[in-house]
């Protein structure tokens, strides 16, 4: 079994998470009886100088892939929605929105979490890493490179989540076995059916890691990029 058996899979343990959201929610409810009042009242309350968090927008500063980004969100906004809707980082996908499918997997201080079950405010001051970081300056990280080489993606909507889950597992244990990496993605779901190709990619990754004596994976040579791809960048 994995060496991290004693630790929670996500960055936050279930208990920590419940504690966190409970506190936040309690603060919001105590300060503003949102449900009883009308929308105008709620908006007024939102504008009022409520101490602490919300319910109106509050300043949010996130460190995403090494860059500091600042925006304003309501405290109820999840890390996933803050990334996608407020700072335009759309590699993490919203699929189940309930911590089941893993498409929103990001690394929080190096640990894989479901961004849909983490409030944005809880990620303040912590290091957030998304799949976009693995395709920087024309070189491709070994994990997505293996996915490309073995065609371990079809529609690709789940892929960034799988890639981040494997990257986290290899960061934690560069000598992870294929079985351990398969366990590391057991919290992710692919609908198109790319598991067989993913298995091939995982086996090849483990071989590569073994050849490199467990050096940090970033030092592995990245696959050359296909120049034939039209790169559809940010719209708007």
């Amino acid at each position: 079994m994995n060496s991290h058996e004693d630790k929670p899979r996500s960055g936050l343990s279930r208990r920590q998470f419940l504690k966190g959201t409970g506190l936040t929610a309690a603060t919001a409810l105590a300060s503003t009886p949102l449900l009883e009042s009308g929308p105008a009242q709620a908006a007024q309350n939102a504008r009022a100088a409520t101490p602490g968090f919300g319910p109106g927008p509050v300043k949010l500063e996130l460190t995403v892939n090494g860059a500091k980004v600042t925006t304003e969100v309501e405290p109820r906004v999840t890390l996933l929605d803050a990334l996608r809707n407020y700072v335009d980082v759309t590699g993490p996908k919203r699929v189940c929105d309930r911590g089941t499918c893993g498409a929103c997997t990001v690394l929080l201080d190096g640990k894989p979490i479901y961004a849909c079950t983490c409030l944005a405010l809880e990620a303040m001051g912590r290091r957030i890493e998304t799949a976009e970081a693995l395709h920087a300056e024309g070189s491709l990280h070994a994990v997505p490179a293996a996915f490309v080489q073995f065609d371990a993606q079809q529609c690709g909507f789940c892929t960034p989540g799988f890639v981040m889950a494997i990257k986290a597992a290899l960061d934690r244990n560069p000598k992870a076995t294929p079985e351990e990496l398969e366990a590391a993605v057991s919290g992710n779901i692919c609908r198109c059916g790319t598991y067989q190709q993913m298995r091939d990619a995982i086996r090849s990754l483990c071989k590569k890691m073994a050849q490199h004596n467990g050096q940090p994976i970033q030092t592995l040579a990245a696959a050359s990029l296909s120049a034939g791809c039209c790169h559809h960048g940010k719209e708007g």
């Binding site: 996908k93 395709h135 080489q149 529609c155 909507f157 890639v163 398969e182 298995r199 990029l225 790169h231």
Partner: protein
Amino acid sequence: MAEIKWPQQRRVIGTKVPRVDGPDKATGLARYGFDINRRGMLHAMILCSNVPHGRLKTVDVSAAEKHPGFRGIFHFKRQGQEVFYVGDEILAIAADTEEHCHDCLRLVRIEYEPLPFVVNEEAALKEPGKGTVPNPGQGNVRPSGQRSVGNVEDALGKADAVVEGTYSVPVQCHCCLEPHGMVAEWQGNNLTVWCSTQATTGIAGMLEAQFRNRVPDVKCRCITHYMGGGYGSKFIPGPTGIACSELAFMTKAPVKLFLDRFEEQISAGNRPSATATVKIAGTKDGKITAFQADIYGTPGGGAGAGAVDAYHQLVPYVYTSIPNIRTVNRTIRLNTGDRQAFRAPGHPQACFLTESAVDDLANKLSLDPLEVRRANLPTDLPNAFKRPIYEEQLKIVAEMCDWKKRWHPPGQGPSKGPLKHGLGLGLHTWGGGGRPNNDVRVAIKSDGSVLVQCSTQDLGTGERTVLAIVVAEVLGLNVKDVTSEIGESQFGRSTGSGGSTTCPGTAPAALIAAHRARDDLFAKLAPRLGVNKDDLKIDPEKPGKIVAGDKEWTWKEACARLGMDTVVGIGDHPGDQSLSSQGVGGVQVCECWVDTETGIVHLKNFWAVQDCGLVINKLACESQVAGGIIMGIHYAMFEERLMDDNTGRPLNADMEFYKLAGMKDIPEIHVHMMDMPERGVIGIGEPPTISTAAAIGNAICNALGVRVPRTPFSPMNVLAALAQKGGA
């Protein structure tokens, strides 16, 4: 011009080419419709019915309209109208943020006058005339057809063995990971939508029609650079597209509307259920002499019934030459979400119903089920051509899985304590032909760059790469030298990606376009290179070069002579069978171990033999076949939409209780592509998912000696079957 043919000697086509957009997709840089953010963009959500059937007594939106974030509202249904299922759309609201959108929906007050409802087939069959759906006069259970060939009664009487069984597959949700939806933005008369769709040109046309009476010269452009799964459910704008584009029109702002997971599961499409009581008869030597089936299934309550209305035509599936057939079919209308086309509509159901019965007959006759298949392959027109293909496939798959050694009579295989070993198979068929109206444009510039464009879309099949491969082959280049642009409706005509027709529709078009671009290039270059244009050649032995006799130029050198000129070649599918054809067969074998104490099925190995004509990209082709099997594993082992009879509500409209397979559930999958280049290109998206559930069911039966008659093959259903036969 000489007739254009696929090259005999192929340098790029048929090799393993990693998809050109792979890096962008794997690292989240690829922008799907759901990922598009526009300046000043509003967010919209749909409020749907939370009763299975009712009349809208009150629809009060006054409080929502006063919310400071509120921007606009679109009504699907007004006061006094009926809603027919939980998930039926009532209205959509646009607001400045998603959070405010949620708030606005909560402020809408709806009152329903409850009306009777039925949400499960068994309940409907108890009161067939009830009528709780649109066109209530026809009742909930409606005859949808029957057919009769030969004399079934007579054949049943004369047979050496007759087996009767009832087999069943439940409703399956598409569960697209990227939900249905779009971003819509108006600029004057121009509407741009970034839509998750399988038909960019279809969406553009349908949205233009939606607005033409208000905006006479409306022009819609649909962009689908990437889309996160459709499987047949994303051909039309649907309620999401209509509401989104209407809200953008009314608010004069870009609007994003994508369904949430609950709505995606209940209202965005599903594969209809199917249940059949089958009587099958045969002779000692394994010849099937009679097939009789009483079938029903549900497509939901609304518009078309799709494959459900054709079940009586679809069985006995590939065994079209059985001399005596009688089938009766009923379509059951329920207060549930409507069906949509789903990867090989009707086929996995027909395959499961038929192959389970054929297997039971083989068991009753104590014959090897593979030999029984062989004895009943089609000999009738137009299916007879598949017979030699199936014969070859059965031979290959038997060798691959060592059938003779691994197969054993049902319930008599190896055991490991409570674990029993099983092996089973299934056969399938599909069309997959190419169609005209797929414009492919190839442009070559003086810098040597090559651009191939088509408005078609990539559902995950690697379509961008297909075009680049074909063009690179013709021009003597590498795939990376060709830029492939797809998924924009203004690139010309293209057909929707359905029926496995995209690759066979566009690859021939790309071949013709590339040939024409090459001819145009030679015509323009010949005088500038001082040679006769007929002497210019692209030699597959010398990639990256253009040659004329003993002279040669690198691609870049030659193209540089174009100066300000651009070379263009445009092609379409020729509309005949010269470059693509249709009609495939496939055989799959499953090996499993079944735990008779827990009812857990462990899939061990899958072997698949699939023909698909000329393979364009071997890597993506094998990936499609393995993916089809995995989707079949989802279907066979886990998927079932559950509806509550008492409340009429769905019980698993999420991804926690609507189960899909994970990495650990997947056996080793061994794919053999039967390359038949002489047939041209044939689509591969649908066929490999068809016989998977049948093969698994037959393997389980082979392990237990007991038929588990319905999917999913959950511990509950396995144990129930064991208990009923007194086997546990």
